[in-house]
Amino acid sequence: MALKQISVFLENKSGRLAEVTKVIGDAGINLLGMTIADTADFGILRIIVTDYEKTMKVLTENRFTAKMTDVLAIEVSDTPGGLSHIMEVFCKNNINIEYLYFTIDRRSGKHLVILKTEDPNQALAMIASNGLTALSSLE
């Protein structure tokens, strides 16, 4: 199964990141992973959280534009060439990656690469047959 990720549209103005993280923190939601894609005028915050439904609810209530998407969380070995191996598998199977970032599975302490592909289900099938491990939840 794919992992859920929440993206938030942020105007490029000061304090906006402070506001969104406060809203999430005040709701008792823990951030398990995050990255920001930035352009000159706006940013897209992408987060992995403990409670997706609640996060969407508080963000919407606080007038943030948020969206849930499917991403892949794949375990990556904490050794040289760890990511390279995974990339090779994606490349061989002709699966394009839109973006990626890293986090840690706090339960196992393992490193994870979070990947966005066009068709997560197709990628999942490929992952399993290549001996990679994908997580559907970080809880």
């Binding site: 549209f9 105007e11 352009t39 005028d41 706006f42 897209i44 998407t69 966005k116």
Partner: protein, 433 residues
């Protein structure tokens, strides 16, 4: 030099007689040959014979820009189509442009109007005019071109843009007279400085600037930076483009060619005529145009009329430099833009809310810039930057193709733009004109 001293220096009472004669002819012809005017006049029960004095013009109904669009393309045609020699249109930013239809007679009148303007600023047949107005359907380029030809001067039809070539021609061809938008003149000055061209060393001595709002402050800047005299020229596509009125070397108000255009100032709210000296909306009637005459056209431009004993010797009435508009039209780099047009584009663009803010500025390079802030639709928000950038680019390209302007697009969070019932907050004009 006065291009046509008989017409331009005619004693006022004599000219009023001439205007009445021309007005009556124009109204009769319009009533007889153009269904649009006949219907309008019949509706209010006015016949051409009712025009006995110049003041009787107030019996005629106004003509509006909306009506010009409704009658697109040939609705105002008042002569057989075979008599039309040239067609011009506005930038057509709403999709339906305003049309100008010119007979041979009209082109001569236009040429003379623009020639009189050039002469007012001191240009003669010995001058070299570098015409930086856009050529094509836009009346700016060909209007000045016709004027330069009529004057007997040399015209360089360089058109708008291509600044390095402008500078090169200016230097190499010993241009004396520059015609373009005032903001482009300042831009050119900046470009000259950067390229190490000293404009005060060139033959350039005057410029006629128009097609967008400007001010005394800009005049000072232009005169200083280009080392020239800068003159304000007024025109609008609906009438003839540039050449309706222009400043003479006194630089004190713009003389209207009264034997071609009959001006009135009205209270924009009541439509009542206002006396000379009172500020209101300029209404123009073409009294020497045959192809598609305009009766009492509401220009939406705010100014006032005055008749002083001008040292130049002309007796024609003057308008004060334009003092604003009676609608929300923005003029950006010579292009007319209505906020409603931007609204229409937004409504037709998937993924964007029709909530927007337009910020117009005139920044470092002296050219107008427009920023359009639009709210992203929650449904169309993507976690991928390339999707968001594509959305932005799509909007930018649509605006470029439909409105002819390059706008900076800023995507905003939903509900971040203040909601207002009026349109005023939607437009922030920071230009210090």
């Amino acid at each position: 030099m006065i291009f046509n001293p008989t017409a331009e220096c005619m004693p006022v009472p004599e000219r009023k007689e001439l205007q009445l004669k021309k007005l009556r002819e124009t109204v009769s012809r319009a009533y007889k040959n153009c269904g649009f005017y006949k219907n309008k006049m019949d509706r209010v029960g006015v016949k051409p014979e009712d025009i006995q004095t110049l003041e009787d013009i107030s019996k005629l109904p106004f003509t509006t820009k909306d009506e010009l669009r409704e009658t697109y393309p040939y609705g105002l045609l008042s002569v057989p189509l075979s008599e039309i020699r040239e067609v011009h249109t506005s930038s057509g930013t709403t999709g339906i442009p305003v049309v100008g239809l010119y007979t041979e007679h009209d082109l001569r009148m236009w040429g003379e109007s623009a020639a009189r303007c050039l002469a007012m600023t001191g240009a003669t047949k010995d001058d070299i005019i570098q015409n930086g107005y856009g050529y094509g359907l836009f009346t700016g380029g060909l209007g000045i071109h016709h004027g330069g030809r009529t004057l007997g001067a040399t015209v360089i039809p360089i058109s708008a843009g291509n600044t390095p070539r402008h500078l090169q021609m200016l230097r190499d061809f010993k241009t004396t007279t520059l015609t373009c938008t005032p903001s482009y003149a300042l831009y050119l000055a900046e470009a000259a400085r950067e390229a190490g061209v000293d404009l005060s060393e060139t033959a350039l001595c005057r410029g006629l600037f128009g097609a967008e709002p400007w001010s005394e402050n800009m005049r000072i800047q232009i005169e200083k930076r280009l080392g020239i005299k800068a003159y304000d020229i007024y025109g609008l596509t609906e009438i003839i483009g540039p050449g309706v009125a222009c400043e003479c070397t006194e630089q004190h108000g713009l003389h209207i060619h009264e034997d071609f255009f009959y001006p009135e100032i009205i209270d924009p709210k009541t439509g009542k005529a206002l006396p000379e000296g009172e500020k209101g909306e300029l209404v123009l009637t073409t009294i020497d145009k045959t192809g598609a005459p305009l009766l009492r056209y509401r220009t939406k431009d705010i100014t006032y009329l005055f008749r002083d004993a001008c040292a130049c010797g002309r007796t024609t009435v003057k308008i004060h430099r334009l003092m604003g508009r009676n609608d929300d039209m923005l003029i950006i780099r010579g292009v007319n833009v209505f906020p409603s047009q931007i609204e229409e584009i937004l409504a037709a663009t998937e993924g964007l809310q029709p909530h927007y803010q337009i910020i117009v500025d005139r920044t470092g390079n002296h050219l107008d810039s427009i920023e359009l802030r639009v709210e992203v639709d929650e449904a169309s928000f993507s976690d991928e930057t390339k999707e968001m950038e594509a959305l932005r680019r799509r909007l930018q390209e649509t605006i470029k193709s439909k409105l002819g302007i390059n706008a900076k697009i800023t995507l905003m969070e939903p509900k971040s733009i203040e909601r207002s019932t009026g349109k005023s907050q939607r437009i922030i004009d920071k230009r210090k004109i």
